[in-house]
Symmetry: C2
Subunit: 144 residues, 2 copies
DNA sequence: CTACATGCAAAAAATTTGCACCACC
DNA sequence: GGTGGTGCAAATTTTTTGCATGTAG
């Protein structure tokens, strides 16, 4: 249950543990692709969890502020959320044909980049997003 | 006038050169930060250029499809556009306090990363986004 | 108890669509 | 002269806000 790590983090930060927060963390920990508010709401309701969309928006915002989840934007207009990975979050491969999303296996050390940025730009990087857009293996086979 | 490069590219692709397209390219070539539809519309109007927001949306979409401009999403909910850089587009440093956006000087070879991704994931990368979020030099001074 | 979480409805903001008309090639 | 660009208004979608009520700590 890595979920408990996040619960613990919230508690440590003096935040309340409410059913909605618990449920959001649970759903996010069971999905690999970053989820939109709509998808999360749908999944919660499917599980019989009664919750309002406003609350989902508000709690996603709160969880993001508390460093529990992370927001990414792909090609569509919706924000997507994923759980913050303690070892640094991962990056994504977004297929422009089928829309599937894989996690990228990356060996770059952006940590080093961030140090360079601090030196050259006097800019303290707190987080970053790195996303790749293209054609996934399956779509590549289908159409050349 | 690097603007002409983009005009030429559009022509080469059999696209029409309309006043709106020309104006959008002109405005984007004079701004360093990626612009939202709203900002672009405002700048066009300020220049006395009469155009409707729907048209701006439609032309931004068209220009993106034709590889003239590139869309990025930061922390707010708006899509932003910048001209495609022929040497590869640049990355950004987004200040979470004042919202300013600088271009990052980067020395990473994402090209190499993309080759690795093709091998490991069978995923053909067409483009990527890499954005850093943090505290810019000015804000860093102000508040510690 | 009390501050914060929640639901509902309504507002605001961002984007898209339908349709008539205009202009470039 | 026909395809595609444009404007306007209205619809849709996404997100936010106000306020009354419930609930975790």
């Amino acid at each position: 249950m890595s979920e408990n790590v996040f619960i613990a983090k919230l508690l440590a930060q003096g935040e309340r543990i409410t059913p909605v927060r618990r449920a959001l963390i649970a759903v996010l920990s069971k999905t690999q692709e970053p989820q939109t508010q709509q998808e999360l709401l749908r999944q919660l309701k499917k599980k019989g969890f009664k919750v309002n969309k406003t609350t989902v928006y508000r709690q996603l915002e709160a969880l993001e502020k508390n460093g529990i989840i992370f927001a990414v934007h792909f090609t569509d207009r919706n924000k997507r959320y994923e759980l913050m990975d303690e070892n640094g979050h991962h990056h994504h491969l977004v297929c422009l044909k089928c829309g599937c999303i894989e996690d990228a296996i990356l060996m770059s050390d952006l940590k080093q980049q961030e140090k360079t940025i601090l030196k050259k730009h006097k800019f303290k990087v707190l987080r970053h997003t790195l996303e790749f857009f293209g054609i996934c293996g399956r779509c590549g086979k289908k159409s050349g």
